[in-house]
């Protein structure tokens, strides 16, 4: 294997291995890398180059997606530390978050039943606020305190919020189609 395939996602884009990321720079670096490896650059090249280009372009896309989204970026950083965030197995949430979860679910169901798209949009906005609060927590936990267990807990919360947000978006789509 060559070095490029053993680089981690941050290294691939020549970015510091940390949660705090400059999105513009990530975008830029991603485009730089794709400009060099994308299959379109190798349409007339040898089979070996075409294969390699497909692999590297696939990898660059995967890395970009992982780093772009804060939840998956945090999950990936923890993975690099050898820590599994246990999102499927560890579903115990602290009491206050559990309350929030229930409130959101209820609000979603009510708004869906009432065909109230505006209410669903408002709920999304509210959840986005919570998300960014948790993202700030992650920055402290990961970049400053190296409190990985705590960070794992935050990732689980964010991952829950992401799922509910996806459900809400789907509910909105369904209502719009109806």
């Amino acid at each position: 294997m060559t070095r490029s395939t053993t680089k981690n996602h941050f290294e691939l884009f020549d970015l510091p291995v940390q949660f705090c990321i400059d999105p513009d720079r990530l975008n830029q670096q991603f485009r730089k890398v794709q400009s060099e490896v994308h299959p379109d650059r190798f349409a007339a090249a040898s089979g070996a180059e075409r294969l390699k280009s497909m692999q590297l372009a696939t990898l660059a896309n995967e890395a970009y997606q992982t780093l772009k989204n804060p939840t998956s970026r945090a999950r990936y950083l923890l993975q690099l530390q050898g820590i599994d965030t246990q999102e499927d197995s560890n579903t115990a949430m602290p009491g206050d978050f559990l309350m929030l979860q229930m409130e959101w679910r209820e609000a979603m169901e009510e708004a869906t039943d009432a065909h109230d798209i505006d209410a669903l949009e408002r709920l999304l906005t509210e959840m986005r606020k919570s998300s960014s609060q948790f993202q700030q927590d992650l920055q402290q936990q990961l970049d400053e305190n190296r409190a990985y267990e705590q960070a794992s807990g935050t990732v689980r919360k964010l991952s829950f919020i992401d799922k509910v947000q996806a459900d809400i978006e789907q509910a909105i789509s369904k209502l719009e189609d109806a």
Partner: protein, 621 residues
């Protein structure tokens, strides 16, 4: 893929020679071919000066085939044998076509894809489309004075795997080397963006004859990144025609009518619709075969009322695409209108109202897709251009697998940037289970029965184990054309079985080979000669590519590595003189293998260089 490369070996173009490549917009209503000449993308015309080729194919009594205007003029005389809007049937089964009852064809329900019974026999939509492509290929070769290196063919962004594969099959059947399938809105963005040196988020709103697509792109320094796409592959100008047609039947109180009259009135409907784009009223007059007389006046207000719901139907996919891209209407810098149906003022108004700004209409909506495709073809063929562009496109619909209870397990989510690979692990359900069936589907719905079935295959030879002990990894790889291949691998105790499936629809490899065979003349129909020709062209290309790579980056190799590659090249050159296509093929493989490390090093070096360049820039700031 290289099946039809018939340039003589030795005559193949040198790296710096301009390669003949075209972009083809294979439309529902009209098709076009364009190319880049002296740095400018231009549409190629036929002898009478027409840019558009109506996508109409007629099978004549004497066995010949007519395509374009002449076929179009006969459609109401000979409706069963004159196929219009065939694109709507690509990769579709009979049950997928909503308005089958209103169409004048004799459909045959064949597995995978429907066929149409004509006087020339049963025709698959792939074959009909190939007739259109053949005409465009001839037009291009005549205009450019040589054999084409390849073509970029556009497809609606919202086409699924079956529709894409069918399009690629049609191109092969027409003798075209497909450089890339390109999404129509992306092609339009290229033509538009390069023209205007635009930066920022743009929406491409494309309503043609049979399909509606909306795509959201971010343009930045020559990189076109598609963020989200959505649409309806069965909504377009044709639907407006049908609304008018139904209105005529209602107003004129006509009894059920024959296929000829149906065609006639559909044509009249379309003419009225187009007339109303610039006028307030359209008169529709016609004498039917049945003797019935039609004489009606349609106002633009009435047309608006009849088709309001169709326009509203385009706004939902637009909202969804924005949501998927996490963008709001305010983030959009411009809306590019593509497709003939966007000429209708009521469509423009609806779009302007939705986005709170007037859409851009300064490029000819009929031509913009072909022009963009030609630019991309030029890049892919290896003709260096000033403005090196890069397209990062996405997959429009999620890909998944069937799991317990007929539910879909999503493996690749929609709007993922291509190319992409994803793996998912599964296990056995019963003790001693030695086979597992894998069902690949595409779509957004939870139930497998609501999604499109792409392929079913069985993984056999799993060693008998307790339930849940086997580990089966299913990998989806989607390439830059948006086409899927699936690999399943059982990985325990060293036993491994492996299968790769490329879904194919309606036509098998053999069938395509047969069709190709029968369309060749005697000299070329010799299978062996063709195989040899192909192998030589492949080898020639590879040698050329590696020679170039060595010249550019030879210093990345050690002396031993370079010698090894040179030895393999020599071997291949020697073999090319022989008539053994298998041996040539093997030597090509060997050379490819020998250069894998070199390929990796070159790419690694270029990435490092690109990123390092970035750092310098930021230091300067």
């Amino acid at each position: 893929m290289a099946l039809l490369q018939i340039a003589e070996p030795g005559m193949s173009a040198a790296p710096h020679q301009h390669k003949l490549a075209v972009g083809i917009d294979l439309g529902t209503t009209n098709s076009l071919v364009a190319t880049v000449r002296s740095g400018m993308s231009t549409v190629l015309h036929d002898e009478e000066g027409h840019a558009l080729l109506p996508s109409v194919v007629r099978y004549l009594p004497d066995g010949s085939v007519e395509v374009g205007y002449s076929a179009q003029s006969q459609q109401s005389q000979d409706p069963h044998n004159t196929i219009v809007s065939v694109k709507r049937f690509m990769g579709r089964g009979l049950k997928d076509v909503a308005d089958i009852a209103q169409l004048p064809y004799k459909f045959v329900d064949t597995p995978g894809m429907l066929q149409i019974q004509t006087r020339a026999g049963k025709k698959s939509p792939v074959e009909v489309s190939a007739e259109i492509l053949k005409v465009l290929k001839q037009r291009a070769e005549k205009a450019l004075g040589g054999e084409l290196t390849g073509a970029v063919i556009t497809v609606p962004a919202y086409f699924d795997d079956a529709q894409r594969q069918a399009t690629k099959d049609a191109a092969r059947l027409a003798g075209l080397t497909v450089l890339r399938l390109l999404n129509e809105p992306t092609a339009a963005a290229v033509a538009y963006g390069l023209d205007n040196a635009s930066e920022g988020v743009y929406v491409i709103y494309d309503m043609g004859g049979g399909t509606f697509d909306v795509s959201i792109l971010r343009l930045s320094k020559g990189v076109f990144e598609v963020l989200a796409t959505n649409g309806d592959s069965a909504l377009g100008g044709d639907d407006f025609d049908r609304r008018i047609f139904c209105w005529i039947l209602e107003q004129a109180k006509l009894p059920p009518i024959n296929p000829e009259d149906t065609r006639l009135l559909l044509t009249k409907s379309r003419e009225a619709k187009e007339w109303l784009t610039d006028h307030a009223e359209a008169r529709i007059t016609s004498i039917l075969k049945s003797g019935d007389l039609v004489d009606l006046t349609l106002t633009s207000a009435k047309l608006k009322e009849l088709t309001q719901h169709l326009i509203a139907k385009t706004l939902n996919p637009t909202r969804k695409a924005l949501r998927d891209a996490s963008l709001a209407v305010e983030d959009v810098k411009g809306i590019v209108m593509v497709g003939g149906a966007t000429r209708m003022p009521q469509v423009r108004h609806a779009v302007a109202e939705f986005f709170g700004q007037d859409p851009l209409t300064n490029l000819d909506p009929d031509k913009v897709v072909a022009l963009g495709a030609a630019i991309q073809a030029n890049v892919l063929a290896g003709n260096r251009s000033e403005n090196d562009l890069l397209l990062l496109d996405i997959i429009p619909l999620s890909l998944g697998l069937e799991t317990m209870g007929g539910l879909t397990e999503r493996v690749i989510p929609r709007n993922s940037t291509l190319p992409i690979a994803r793996a998912q692990d599964f296990t056995t359900f019963k003790d001693g289970q030695t086979a597992m069936s894998i069902h690949v589907v595409q779509g957004e719905r939870e139930l497998v029965s609501d999604c499109r079935s792409l392929a079913r295959f069985e993984l056999r030879g799993i060693p008998p184990m307790a339930a849940g002990a086997a580990r089966i990894r299913v990998t989806f790889q989607v390439d830059a054309d948006g086409l899927l291949s699936v690999t399943a691998r059982e990985q325990t105790s060293g036993v491994e079985s492996h299968i790769t499936v490329k879904p194919s629809y309606g036509l098998s490899e053999d069938e395509i080979a047969d069709m190709l065979q029968s369309s060749f003349n005697a000299a070329e129909s010799d299978k062996h000669a063709r195989a040899l020709q192909e192998a030589r062209v492949d080898a020639e290309r590879l040698l050329e590519a590696i020679t170039y790579a060595l010249k550019q980056d030879g210093e990345l190799l050690s002396e031993t590595e370079r010698k090894q590659i040179k030895a393999n090249m020599e071997q291949l050159r020697n073999l090319m003189e022989t008539g053994n296509s298998h041996a040539i093929h093997d030597a090509v493989e060997a050379l490819n293998h020998a250069t894998e490390e070199f390929a990796a090093k070159r790419m690694d070096a270029s990435v490092r260089k690109a990123l390092a360049g970035q750092k310098l820039n930021s230091l300067e700031l």
